[in-house]
């Protein structure tokens, strides 16, 4: 028997039992689309976080007191500006070190009020972070030295407070103190769920005096190249530990963050895919079950085909192809639904979803394999039926 003929017979059998075929496929459809959607969501989340980190700038080392890690308690910072100066000396290039001292404050313009993160920093910030300006200027060295009450606004803060009006040169009241707006940043989006467009940057010296901030939260160091990151990171941490014996300091780099987050999200995606894979397996069991029913139901047909000259392998091929068609058609429908679902999620919700070709290829391959794996036993049973007994079956 020709292969084309076997396909025709199998398709015919599926068509004749349309409802049953559809229900059986449903298991595979759900499994495959779940795999595609969940992998897309997992991959999308990973891509989004990675691009956020990459969007910060390049070759950044973040130095924070205490131990950094998942579940570690936040450590009360004991770093101050003197320590920043110390790190500057250790690094050697003062312009490659900046500082962060954030605090939640209310900011007001006329009757408009907003609660935002006000971060004390200095003129070196744009040397390390990728933070383009939309209008005006960055904080200057003079701003920091003379404790000027000037502010650079995140794009969303600017819109919230000033609407369409150009904020440069205008006044904003932060925690009851009037500041002059000297710059507005470009929109950069969120990092780790913190919306950086909702930030206001003021000189760190001004922040310490007016907002009652004395400590600083972290120091950021910019390395001159990727090869310099690790030695610099070690040098800074060692220097701080030497200055404060018995205390811990942590320094993380983008690469480490990327690696850690990539691993975590990759594992998450794997777990999601595995759960979806289990549903695909259940779908496969359904296929096996239905094929067994089908073989029993069509015992007389099998007997007849054998009497008319069908060989064992003809009958086996017929039922195996039927099972594989069942799962493959289900797989293709599942892939279409999964891709559609992922695009829908990406379009309608903030969850990023990126369909990956490997998940589609894997889902297709697995659905074909499920058909073969779960179809073989029923098909063999069909092929081995004794024609005399099969012809007599009810």
């Amino acid at each position: 028997m020709r292969a084309a003929e076997a396909f025709r017979i199998a398709l015919e059998a599926l068509r004749v039992n349309r409802l049953r075929s559809t229900l059986t496929m449903l298991g595979v459809i759900i499994g495959v689309s779940a795999v595609v959607v969940l992998v897309a969501v997992g991959t999308g989340a990973k891509n989004a976080v990675e691009s956020e980190i990459a969007g910060l700038g390049s070759n950044i080392i973040l130095v924070v007191p205490g131990r950094l890690g998942v579940g570690a308690l936040p450590t009360q910072s004991r770093l101050d500006l003197a320590d920043v100066a110390y790190v500057r000396r250790v690094v050697g290039d003062p312009s490659k070190v900046t500082v962060s001292a954030p605090s939640g404050e209310t900011v007001r313009v006329g009757r408009t009020e907003a609660f935002v993160t006000v971060t004390g920093t200095d003129e070196n910030l744009p040397n390390i972070f990728d933070r383009p300006l939309r209008r005006g200027r960055y904080l200057s060295e003079t701003d920091v030295d003379t404790r000027r009450r000037v502010a650079v606004l995140g794009s969303e803060v600017a819109t919230t407070l000033f609407g369409d009006v150009d904020p440069i040169g205008r006044q904003a009241t932060i925690s009851g103190v009037r500041f002059r707006v000297v710059g507005v940043y470009e929109t950069v989006g969120a990092t780790f769920g913190v919306n950086r467009d909702q930030e206001i940057h003021i000189p760190v010296t001004t922040a310490q005096r007016l907002l009652g901030v004395t400590r600083i939260n972290g120091i950021a160091v910019g390395a001159s190249g990727p090869d310099e990151i690790e030695p610099l990171q070690r040098r800074v941490v060692d220097a701080l530990v030497e200055r404060y014996p018995g205390e811990r300091f942590s320094a993380v780099t983008q690469t480490q963050l990327l690696g850690t987050i990539g691993t975590v999200l990759g594992m998450l995606t794997g777990v999601l895919a595995a759960i979806a894979g289990i549903s695909l397996l259940v779908g496969g069991v359904g296929v096996s079950n239905i094929m067994l029913v089908s073989v029993r139901e069509r015992t007389r047909e099998i007997g007849l085909r054998k009497a008319l000259g069908a060989r064992q392998r003809d009958v086996l091929a017929q039922f195996l192809i039927e099972a594989v068609l069942l799962t493959t058609i289900g797989g293709v429908i599942g892939i279409l639904l999964g891709v559609g679902g992922a695009l829908l999620i990406a379009g309608l919700s903030p969850v990023p979803a990126a369909v990956t070709w490997w998940s589609v290829a894997l889902a297709f391959g697995v659905s074909v394999a499920v058909g073969v794996f779960f179809g073989v036993a029923p098909a063999r049973r069909a092929g081995r039926l004794d024609p005399v007994i099969a012809l007599r079956a009810e």
Partner: protein, 264 residues
């Protein structure tokens, strides 16, 4: 119309199907089944020869072993002991695959309950044996159409079995048995599920088939009127041939032959 070729007894040992060989040649054929641990002998030693072009009725009460004999002759089953040659080929030497090919080429089946694929049009039902012979689709359809026309169903090509009467369904089944040009048609109670008129029509077709094409017809039945239409009656009882009108007690090799002229 096959001319009468006197078969040479015992010369069917050649490996391939020889044109001069008997259609069936059985010697000491037995078949026993294991039913719940008990061995039941359905056939207890049958010697039989059926030549090409014969029209034979196998008659016997139910449980006599005639169906078992039919299954053995049709190569659907294998004997427990004894030898069976089909067209000169010893079937015990054949693998299941070769046996399937032999069924496909040498034998046409007609069953009591028609055994048509219910949701498949008549044309496709008839073409089914050719599917397993690897005949291309267009040729299959052509030959199936011819076969259906030869049983008077040229106007029913696209009808499904459910849209046809029992008599028509059995004629479709006969067309299916014919389509592969077999040397033998085995008909198992072909009129058993039909009324008298349709039964007569089916018998007339089998008769014509035998007379005009020289196809050997082996008919299993328990109806004596049906059996009487055959030219030779083999009575089976308790797993043995009780009486063979063709051989009349003689050796099976000298089986009585009925030429097509006598069929008219």
């Amino acid at each position: 119309m096959t001319p009468d070729l006197p078969p040479s007894p015992g010369a069917g040992a050649a490996d391939g199907p020889a044109s001069g060989a008997a259609a069936f040649e059985a010697a000491g054929l037995t078949r026993s089944y294991q039913l719940e641990g008990v061995s039941v002998d359905a056939l207890r030693g049958v010697d039989l020869r059926i030549d090409p072009g014969e029209f034979v009725a196998v008659v016997g009460p139910s449980g006599s072993g005639k169906s078992t004999l039919m299954h053995l002759l049709g190569c659907l089953d294998r004997p427990t002991s004894g030898t069976l040659r089909v067209n000169g080929v010893d079937v015990s030497t054949l693998s299941d695959t070769r046996l399937a090919e032999l069924r496909n080429r040498a034998i046409g089946f007609v069953f009591q309950s028609f055994h048509l694929l219910a949701r498949t049009p008549a044309l496709e039902n008839v073409a089914l044996p050719l599917v397993y012979r690897g005949v291309p689709r267009a040729e299959r359809r052509e030959r199936a159409r011819e076969a259906l026309e030869s049983v008077g169903l040229g106007h029913r090509l696209d009808h499904r079995p459910s849209q046809m009467s029992g008599g028509e369904q059995q004629r479709v089944a006969i067309a299916r048995a014919l389509v592969g040009d077999p040397r033998v048609v085995l008909a198992d109670e072909p009129t058993g599920n039909l009324d008298t008129r349709n039964g007569a029509e089916v018998m007339a077709i089998l008769d014509r088939l035998n007379a005009e094409r020289g196809v050997a017809v082996v008919l299993v039945t328990h109806e004596s009127e049906v059996a009487a239409r055959a030219h030779r009656q083999i009575h089976v009882r308790d797993g043995l041939i009780e009486h063979d009108s063709g051989t009349a007690g003689g050796p099976p090799e000298r089986g009585g032959r009925t030429g097509p002229s006598e069929a008219e």
